[in-house]
């Protein structure tokens, strides 16, 4: 048990210097010994999601599916015979709060692992906390790649499991020119860098590239540019409410998915309702999971979720990745025979789980998981139906080292 004064000091140091100091030199300060209590028949784990603030709308759904996984694991006998005891904290859509709460979960609640985070900025803020304390974070959302911490397991897609398959699909469909539309921040800009490198190597012409500020509501000019450019398809990395204004404008100008399909990487089942099915029906999305996947495992997952939270709820890719992350952790711990972080890290490679999206396997080297890429089409029912599949799980490659055209992107 760590003294309150010491905890306060750690907190002050972290907030005063900015967490970056620790990440620059992870070996500088020796991590305090873990305080995880494995003596009883319960083991504590932490859920760290934004339950308030602008990200709450998305992160509450992840919290729900994590809770379902914990409940199911406990009903099935727990992990190494111990029942999971969940400590939930609110990240409040604020990266600094994520870092603080992560510190609290690790040092004062002494949880064995933490599950959560959504935005890349929240992950980047938590990363030094997990590295300096040598603790574990399971991060469930697709992201821009170019990261592989030994203290984080990334159960959402990296770029070669979502963006590159989407480009492969478009190329296969005979698309020879693209228009890039995105929100003005890190994920769309990084994604578009990759898309432009891919396009250059594959003879695809980029007809235009437009960024809108987050929360932008008037897309008349951008959609006019898209229409006039006449590209074969639009690659959409807009985030949040901007998607609504974009798709309404797109339809109002008379553009259809047949003329110029839009492929999106941030629109899942949850978002379709707010955009309006009419406005987005027939458009494409790229993920690794859809509610409509027709396997017994997924049907059980969807049924259990609806039974717990209500018939009108939907399941989406980040929710499934979060659900899967908890089961993967159970698999790693039981393979290691221990809750010890080093033992779990050593045992991680090759751990598999029969997930709702299909069988996934942990890559022990970069801590991502092999996932099947799926291109989906939004149906009149508001659900997403698989249009194309990579057929088999794609090995994660966060730094795109196996793609010759991507050399130079990682620097």
């Amino acid at each position: 048990m760590i003294g309150a004064a010491a905890l306060l000091t750690v907190g002050l140091v972290l907030s005063a210097c900015g967490a970056r100091v620790d990440s620059a030199d992870p070996s500088g300060a020796a991590a305090a010994p873990s305080c995880v209590d494995t003596s009883g028949n319960e083991i504590k784990i932490g859920f760290l999601n934004s339950r308030s603030g602008t990200m709450a709308i998305s992160e509450n759904t992840v919290f729900d599916s994590l809770s379902l996984a914990a409940e199911q694991i406990n009903a099935a006998g727990g992990v190494l015979g111990k029942q999971l005891q969940v400590v939930a904290e609110d990240g409040a859509s604020e990266p600094t709060i994520f870092a603080e709460k992560a510190q609290k979960l690790i040092r004062s609640d002494c949880v064995a692992a933490v599950f959560g985070g959504w935005t890349s900025s929240s992950r980047k803020a938590m990363l030094p906390v997990f590295e300096s304390n040598n603790a574990l974070l399971f991060y469930p959302v697709q992201y821009e790649g170019l990261e592989a911490s030994k203290n984080i397991f990334y159960t959402g897609a990296t770029t070669n499991q979502q963006i590159i398959p989407a480009l492969d699909y478009l190329k296969e469909q005979g698309v020879t020119s693209l228009f890039l539309v995105g929100s003005d921040y890190v994920f769309p800009q990084t994604a578009n860098k990759i898309i432009k490198a891919y396009a250059a190597a594959n003879g695809i012409e980029i007809r235009g590239e437009e960024y809108a500020p987050l929360g932008h509501t008037d897309f008349a000019t951008i959609v006019a540019k898209v229409r006039d450019a006449g590209a074969g398809a639009v690659f959409n990395t807009l985030n949040g409410d901007s998607n609504v204004a974009f798709f309404k404008e797109y339809r109002n100008l008379g553009l259809t998915p047949e003329q110029m399909p839009v492929i999106s990487v941030s629109i899942a089942e949850e978002e379709v309702g707010g955009i309006g099915v009419d406005n987005i029906e027939g458009q494409l999305v790229a993920w690794n999971y859809y509610q409509t996947i027709d396997t017994p495992t997924n049907q059980r997952f969807v049924e259990a979720f609806k039974a717990k939270y209500g018939e009108n709820r939907v399941t989406s890719d980040p929710m499934e990745a979060a659900y899967t992350s908890l089961w993967l952790w159970k698999g790693m711990v039981e393979k290691a025979g221990s809750f010890d972080v080093a033992a779990v890290q050593a045992a991680a490679d090759g751990v598999t789980f029969d997930a709702p999206e299909g069988t996934v396997t942990v890559n022990g080297e970069n801590h991502h998981i092999a996932k099947t890429a799926l291109i989906g089409r939004i149906g009149a029912d508001g659900l997403i139906h698989t249009e194309w599949s990579s057929g088999e799980p794609i090995e994660p490659d966060p730094y795109l080292t196996t793609y010759p055209w991507a050399s130079g992107l990682a620097s």
């Binding site: 960024y211 000019t221 006019a224 609504v244 955009i275 309006g276």
Partner: protein, 294 residues
Amino acid sequence: MDVVVTQVFNGLSGGSILLLAALGLALTFGQMGVINMAHGEFIMAGAYTAYVTQNVLGSAGLSLVVSLPIAFAIGSALGVVLEAALLRRMYHRPLDTLLVTWGVSLVLQQLARDVFGTAGVDVPAPEWLGGPVEVLGFSFPRTRLFILLLAIAAFLALAAALRYTALGRRIRATVQNRPLAETSGISTRATDRLTFFIGSGLAGVAGVALTLMGSISPNLGTAYIVDAFLVVVVGGIGQIRGAVIAAFLLGVAQSWIEYSTTASIAKVLVFALIVAFLQVRPQGIFTVRTRSLA
């Protein structure tokens, strides 16, 4: 030529949306000097009114028309309650008003979250507003034409009411010289309440129009409140026609700069232009000439 027509139209359309959002504010802030940060939430209430009306009536075409007067009523009711409960106690304390109305806006946002959920909702546009109209080879989205006409109609109605009705004369008199208006037998209390009634009602109408453009979520109002205040400040306090000119100028400037640069840069440049303009003309485009000593 294509680009010129399209961008001028997009600019006018953007301006009409700004105008609708700012028209009510031009009354309450412009005429009465009350900084109402909850104006954006009155817009949001109007948008949710359209959503509820459509769910009750079912038909998108009918409900759009029906929800306009209902949203006016709901917006103005919110405005009158706010005025009677809080604002009238702090007419000469602008900073307090700012804080109090900002608090009210947070309360209204949370209320909307509790009632309608945090996820955005959708109000489908009626059939007769679907797709574009082709004129001389140019295509104009029907929804944008509708909003443009609605904004012009709202402005003309308001301008006529201010110019030709007894109520309008009372409002103008109060704006120009409050003590003199009072000594002339005008109840400035009643006038204030009525001004707030109309201004807030117009916010509700703006909310209905905005459902055709973007997302309807509890933080809808925050996206428009700053732009609305800019329009009123640039237009000149106390002038409705100033707001009209400012809204269309800002709309056209935004769409032109955005066409030749990017959306982010256009926002920055428009802000810079506004700051530069207000340096030269801090009173805005128009000012009310008054002999009041206040």
